[in-house]
C-alpha cells in the first residue's frame, strides 16, 4: 500500500515538474531571435508584432518550416536596411484548422496582435481569414494556394502573397495550349487543392484550345504510397499527355514512381511544382527527366541579383536552396514592411490601404498586389526537368517566365465569385 502511494506522489511531482519545466524553458525561448541586430542601426521608428501561424509539425511541416525560414531572413534583411522592426510570434497549428483558428484568437485577443500571417493548410487559412474579417485584423496569406482566399471568400482584411489554384491552372493551360497534345489524362491527389488545380487547368485549356479531349481522370488518396496501378492505368489508356495536380508530398512520391516506371519516356507529363526545388532536391538523381511543370519560383531563374542573394541567404540559414515556400515567407514580410513604410504607420487600416496596389521587385520579377482582390500578381516560371552537370539533384531547362497578366483571372471573374 505504502509503495503505491509513493508512486502516486512521484506521478504528481513528475507532472507538476514537467508542466513548470515546459513553461520555464519556454519562457527562455519566447523572446524572438530576430530583433538583435535591428534596433542598433537606428533605422525605422516602426515596431510591429506579427503573429505567424503555420504547420510546423504534421504532414506539411516541410513547407511550414521553409516559410518560417523565409520569414526570418526577410525580417533580418528589413531590419538591416532600416525598415520596420518586426517581432514574430509563432504558433504551430499541426495542420489542424481548429487549432489554427484558436491560435489566431489567442494571438489577437491575448497578445494584442493585429497582423497575422500564415498558413500552408487551406482550411486553416480560410478559417483565420474569416476570423480576421469579423474582427477587422489584417491577415496575409503566405502559403495556402486555395483560390477561395482572395476569390469567393475574399474581403478587405485578407491579402494573398502566394499564387493560387486558379493561377496555377491558367499558367499550366497557357503553356500546354502551345503544345500539340490533344488527348489528355487528368490525375491528382483527391483533395481540394488537387481538384481545383485540375479543374482550373482543364477549363482554361478547353477555352484556349477547344479541340482537346479528356480521356479520363484518376484520383489517389493524399499520402498514397503506391502509384504503380495509377501509372499502369494511364499507360493502358495511351493518352497524348498527362496533367497531374498533386499535393507536395504526393508530388515527390509520384515523381519517384514515374522515374521507376519510365512513364516519362512514354508520355509528356505536366505537374505543377514538379519543377520546384523542394520537390526535386529530396529525390537527388532519382527524379525523372523531361517532366514539365509550372512553379512559382526557381532559385536559378530568372538569373538576377535578387534571385541570387535570396538563394544564398536562405542556404546560409537552412543549408539548402529555397523552393517556393521559402520565397512565400520572404515576400510576405517584404511586402508587409514596404507597406508599413509607405503608410508611415503601423495602423492596420493604413497598412491595408498601403498594400493595395503596392509594387515591389522580387526574385521572379515585378510583383503588384491587385487593389480589387488583394492578390499578388507575379509572373510564374515553367520548365522541364533535366539532370544537372554539377549538382546532385535535377534542375529545369527550357525555362520560361509566364507574364502575370497571362495567369491572372480577371477582376470581373473574381468579383463575380464573391457575389454568389
Amino acid at each position: 500500500m505504502r509503495k503505491r502511494f509513493n508512486l502516486h506522489y512521484l506521478a504528481w511531482t513528475v507532472i507538476v515538474m514537467l508542466v513548470f519545466g515546459v513553461l520555464l524553458t519556454g519562457c527562455g525561448q519566447a523572446t524572438p531571435p530576430n530583433n538583435s541586430g535591428a534596433a542598433g542601426s537606428g533605422g525605422s521608428k516602426f515596431k510591429v508584432k506579427v503573429g505567424y501561424i503555420d504547420s510546423l509539425s504534421g504532414p506539411a511541416a516541410a513547407y511550414g518550416k521553409s516559410t518560417e525560414a523565409g520569414i526570418k531572413i526577410a525580417i533580418d534583411e528589413v531590419a538591416k536596411a532600416g525598415g520596420p522592426t518586426i517581432e514574430l510570434v509563432e504558433r504551430d497549428d499541426s495542420f489542424k484548422p481548429d487549432l489554427a483558428e484558436a491560435s489566431a484568437k489567442e494571438l489577437v485577443m491575448n497578445q494584442n496582435i493585429d497582423i497575422l500571417v500564415g498558413t500552408i493548410n487551406s482550411a486553416s487559412a480560410l478559417a483565420v481569414s474569416k476570423y480576421a474579417k469579423d474582427n477587422k485584423v489584417l491577415f496575409i496569406n503566405s502559403d495556402s494556394m486555395s483560390e477561395k482566399i482572395t476569390g469567393a471568400q475574399g474581403h478587405r482584411y485578407v491579402f494573398s502573397i502566394v499564387g493560387n489554384t486558379a493561377m496555377i491552372g491558367k499558367a499550366g493551360a497557357y503553356q500546354m495550349s502551345k503544345m500539340p497534345y490533344k488527348r489528355y489524362w487528368l490525375a491528382g491527389s483527391d483533395y481540394e487543392f488537387g481538384h481545383s488545380v485540375v479543374n482550373s487547368v482543364w477549363t482554361n485549356l478547353q477555352q484556349m484550345k477547344p479541340d482537346v479531349q479528356k480521356i479520363n481522370e484518376s484520383w489517389w488518396r493524399v499520402g498514397e504510397s503506391d502509384f504503380s496501378s495509377y501509372i499502369n492505368a494511364i499507360r493502358a489508356a495511351k493518352p497524348d499527355a498527362v496533367y497531374v495536380g498533386s499535393g507536395g508530398g504526393d508530388t515527390v512520391a509520384f515523381l519517384k514512381a514515374i522515374n521507376q516506371s519510365g512513364l516519362n519516356k512514354e508520355v509528356p507529363i505536366f505537374i505543377h511544382a514538379a519543377t520546384d526545388h523542394d520537390s526535386l532536391r529530396p529525390l537527388g538523381q532519382d527524379a525523372p527527366e523531361g517532366v514539365y511543370g509550372t512553379a512559382f519560383y526557381f532559385n536559378y531563374f530568372p538569373d538576377n541579383a535578387m534571385t541570387k542573394s535570396f538563394g544564398e541567404a536562405y542556404k546560409k540559414v537552412t543549408g539548402n536552396y529555397p523552393g517556393f515556400a521559402g520565397l512565400n515567407g520572404y515576400l510576405t514580410i517584404k511586402f508587409l514592411a514596404a507597406a508599413i513604410d509607405k503608410a508611415g504607420s503601423t495602423d492596420k487600416e493604413k497598412i491595408i490601404d498601403a498594400l493595395e496596389g503596392l509594387s515591389l521587385d522580387t526574385p521572379v520579377g515585378k510583383g503588384t498586389i491587385r487593389k480589387e482582390d488583394h492578390q499578388l500578381m507575379l509572373p510564374m516560371v515553367f520548365g522541364k526537368t533535366v539532370k544537372s552537370a554539377n549538382l546532385p539533384y535535377l534542375i529545369t531547362t527550357d525555362n520560361v517566365l509566364i507574364p502575370a497578366d497571362k495567369i491572372m483571372p480577371s477582376v470581373e471573374e473574381v468579383l463575380k465569385t464573391r457575389k454568389k
Binding site: 508512486l7 502516486h8 512521484l10 506521478a11 504528481w12 513528475v14 507532472i15 514537467l18 508542466v19 515546459v22 513553461l23 524553458t25 519556454g26 519562457c27 525561448q29 519566447a30 510546423l56 509539425s57 509563432e90 504558433r91 504551430d92 499541426s94 495542420f95 489542424k96 484548422p97 481548429d98 487549432l99 483558428e101 484558436a102 491560435s103 484568437k105 489567442e106 485577443m109 491575448n110 487551406s122 482550411a123 480560410l126 478559417a127 481569414s129 474569416k130 474579417k133 469579423d134 486555395s146 477561395k148 471568400q153 483527391d190 483533395y191 481540394e192 481538384h195
Partner: protein
C-alpha cells in the same frame, strides 16, 4: 462527502460571475473548454460508465457540427431546426455505427468503431460539394447575438450545465444503473434479463446525441468546421482528457478537458513540441496514475469512486 457535493455548485457560481472580470481571450478559452468538456463527458458516459471502448467519438462531434453548419449555410431552414438537427444527425450516425459495433465486445468493438468512424471521415473529406472537403466550411451564419464572446460564454456554460445535469440524472436512473451493471458484468447482466446489446446501443446513441450538441456549440463559438474535427487524433485527445480526469468519475472528463485545452494553449506559446509534451504527460499518467486525478482523490478521501480494480476489467468479456 459534503464538500464533494458542494464543489460543482461553487464552480458554477464562480463561472457565472467571472465574465465581467475576465479578459476577452479567457472568455473565449473557457467557452471552448466548455464545448470540449461536454464532448469528453459524453464520451465518458459510454467509455467510463458503459465500459464500451469507443475509439472514435469525435465522429459524432463532427457530424453534429457539420449538419448544423450545412443547414445554416446551404438551406433557408430556421436556426432552431438546425440546432436540433445537429445532435439528431449525430445520434442517428451513432445508431448506424452502434448497430454494427454492439454485436461485438471489448477490443473488437473498439476496432469497429475506429474503422467505421474512419468511413464517416472519408465521406466528409470526399463529399466536397456538400462539406467543402478538406477546405472545410467557414463563416457559418449563426445569429448575430452569438458574435459576442459573452453570449457565447453564457450559452456554452448554460448548455454544458444542463447537459451535465441530464447526463447525471441518466446515470442515476435505472438506465444508468443498468449500464454500469453491463459494464461490470455483461454475462450476469444478460442472465438477469437485460438485453445488453440494445442497452449498449441506446447508451451509444445517447452519447452520440450529446457529442452532437457539443458539435453545435463548437460551431457557435468558432463559426467554422473542417474534417480535422473528426480525425482520430481528435478522438484520442478526448480519450486522454477522460483518462486524465478519471474514467470512473463524473466530473473527471470535464476537468481533464479544461487542463488539456489550457495546457495546449499555454505550451503552444513556448514551443512547437506540444505533442511531445502531451505524449509524455500521457505516458506518465498511464504508468502511475491510471485512475486519473479525480479518481485518485476519490480513492484517497472516500471509499467509493475510483475503486481498486480500476476501470472496465470485464468490459472485454
Amino acid at each position: 462527502m459534503q464538500l464533494r457535493r458542494i464543489i460543482p455548485w461553487i464552480m458554477l457560481a464562480v463561472l457565472l460571475v467571472l465574465p465581467p472580470v475576465l479578459p476577452r481571450y479567457y472568455l473565449y478559452l473557457l467557452a471552448s473548454i466548455f464545448v470540449i468538456a461536454l464532448l469528453a463527458t459524453s464520451l465518458n458516459f459510454i467509455l467510463g460508465f458503459g465500459g464500451l471502448l469507443q475509439l472514435h467519438h469525435a465522429v459524432f462531434f463532427g457530424v453534429g457540427a457539420y449538419t448544423f453548419s450545412i443547414l445554416l449555410l446551404k438551406t433557408p431552414l430556421p436556426f432552431v431546426v438546425a440546432v436540433v438537427a445537429g445532435p439528431v444527425a449525430a445520434a442517428f450516425t451513432a445508431l448506424l455505427i452502434g448497430w454494427f459495433c454492439v454485436r461485438s465486445r471489448g477490443l473488437y468493438f473498439g476496432m469497429l468503431t475506429l474503422a467505421l468512424g474512419q468511413l464517416v471521415w472519408a465521406v466528409i473529406f470526399r463529399w466536397s460539394a456538400l462539406t467543402g472537403g478538406d477546405d472545410g466550411l467557414h463563416g457559418i451564419p449563426v445569429p448575430e447575438v452569438f458574435n459576442s464572446l459573452k453570449t457565447a460564454y453564457y450559452v456554452t456554460l448554460t448548455v454544458l450545465t444542463v447537459c451535465l445535469a441530464v447526463l447525471y440524472l441518466i446515470l442515476k436512473s435505472p438506465f444508468g444503473l443498468t449500464l454500469m451493471a453491463t459494464r461490470d458484468n455483461p454475462v450476469r447482466s444478460e442472465s438477469v434479463g437485460i438485453n445488453i446489446r440494445r442497452h449498449r446501443l441506446a447508451a451509444f446513441v445517447i452519447a452520440g446525441f450529446f457529442a452532437g450538441i457539443a458539435g453545435v456549440l463548437f460551431v457557435l463559438v468558432e463559426k467554422s468546421v473542417s474534417p480535422s474535427l473528426l480525425s482520430w487524433s481528435k478522438s484520442a485527445e478526448i480519450m486522454i482528457m477522460c483518462l486524465l480526469g478519471g474514467l470512473t468519475t463524473f466530473y473527471g472528463p470535464a476537468l481533464g478537458a479544461g487542463i488539456i485545452v489550457f495546457l495546449s494553449m499555454k505550451v503552444g506559446t513556448y514551443t512547437e513540441y506540444w505533442l511531445l509534451v502531451l505524449g509524455i504527460i500521457l505516458l506518465v499518467l498511464v504508468l502511475v496514475l491510471p485512475q486519473g486525478i479525480l479518481g485518485f482523490l476519490a480513492e484517497k478521501y472516500s471509499g467509493r469512486g475510483g475503486d481498486k480494480g480500476g476501470w472496465g476489467k470485464d468490459a472485454s468479456g
